[in-house]
Symmetry: C2
Subunit: 210 residues, 2 copies
Amino acid sequence: MSDFPEKASRPAPQGAMKHREPGSEREMLFARRVPTGDSQPRDICGHCGFIHYDNPKIVVGSVVTHTTESDGERFLMCRRAIEPRKGFWTLPAGFMEHGETTEDGARREAREEANADIRIRDMLAIYNIPRIGQVQIMYRAELASPNFSAGPESLEVALFKWEDIPWGELAFPSVHWALTQFRAAAGQTVIAPFTNPEGETGGRFPPRAP
Amino acid sequence: MSDFPEKASRPAPQGAMKHREPGSEREMLFARRVPTGDSQPRDICGHCGFIHYDNPKIVVGSVVTHTTESDGERFLMCRRAIEPRKGFWTLPAGFMEHGETTEDGARREAREEANADIRIRDMLAIYNIPRIGQVQIMYRAELASPNFSAGPESLEVALFKWEDIPWGELAFPSVHWALTQFRAAAGQTVIAPFTNPEGETGGRFPPRAP
């Protein structure tokens, strides 16, 4: 998956309502009430009794750099082949799956989206986007080899020098946050993870390129 | 919620099977196949077509200390009133809910389980427990006031000096990890978050008390 961050589990609907789950095959009747033994109201399917424990989802990804003598430090970015934000540039990132760790997931996303093997260095940031029920965990990483190419969810993959990053064509605000916070921490070997920029919740882009 | 960490969303069942969701009101027939437009197999309800995107869940919590001249540094712990591990000691922590940030969630859990207001300082650790589909995000925090008492999910709440922590009665391995890593980072103002101790996945306790 690489739905980062605009499509995701939206917060549970309020009150009894009909709705269609993303990709579901027919409409369902969910009613919102407190299940036996719980303290919070949950969505319960009127057809089958399924209790939908809908908690925030984790996105894992990384700022991947590749540094050479000739070109200096460059940043690995992917141009999205899928909605949302098809055609815009993002970092390799996507929904964490069962059976993997957060670091496994970040490595898998780099393989899937950029056919790239990465070495994870440390955690760069944790972003909260409550509006779409996401927690994004971003790592600092580097290419383990200089090979990469577009995976099925990318139109193209490229290494950008800092000054060439397509700031006007970024897919999501948190791509901007991660890149600028990575840059702010350059040279620091131990960092406390960054969080959302003050007052930002993911609904808008920073006013201008850094 | 305070199901930390032994009860949670287990990984999705393999193959077509009947199963009862925790707390569900009747048995459901889920079949495992790839939904239209997806690349991964998911569990799809044979009754209603519900697609269960079952991703890892986030537990948020904190190591909360309270320091006074007379008693020095003490650690806030809760004795569980609910299964799993009823009667054992844990840190205030539980499942993150929609509409809150990870820090909001850690503060809410301290209020719910210990009637305590806490001030969060920074991130202590991120633990991966893939077997039960959990990512645990633990903060360093302190009591904002010296008031606390047992919430509905706690039998009792207490402040322990380090040497009095009930090491033999801890609820979960990650409680042990968080306390010992907190101690290891004493005096460090900037820390990179700790992760699982080498080789540990949450299935066993460390061999002895620190």
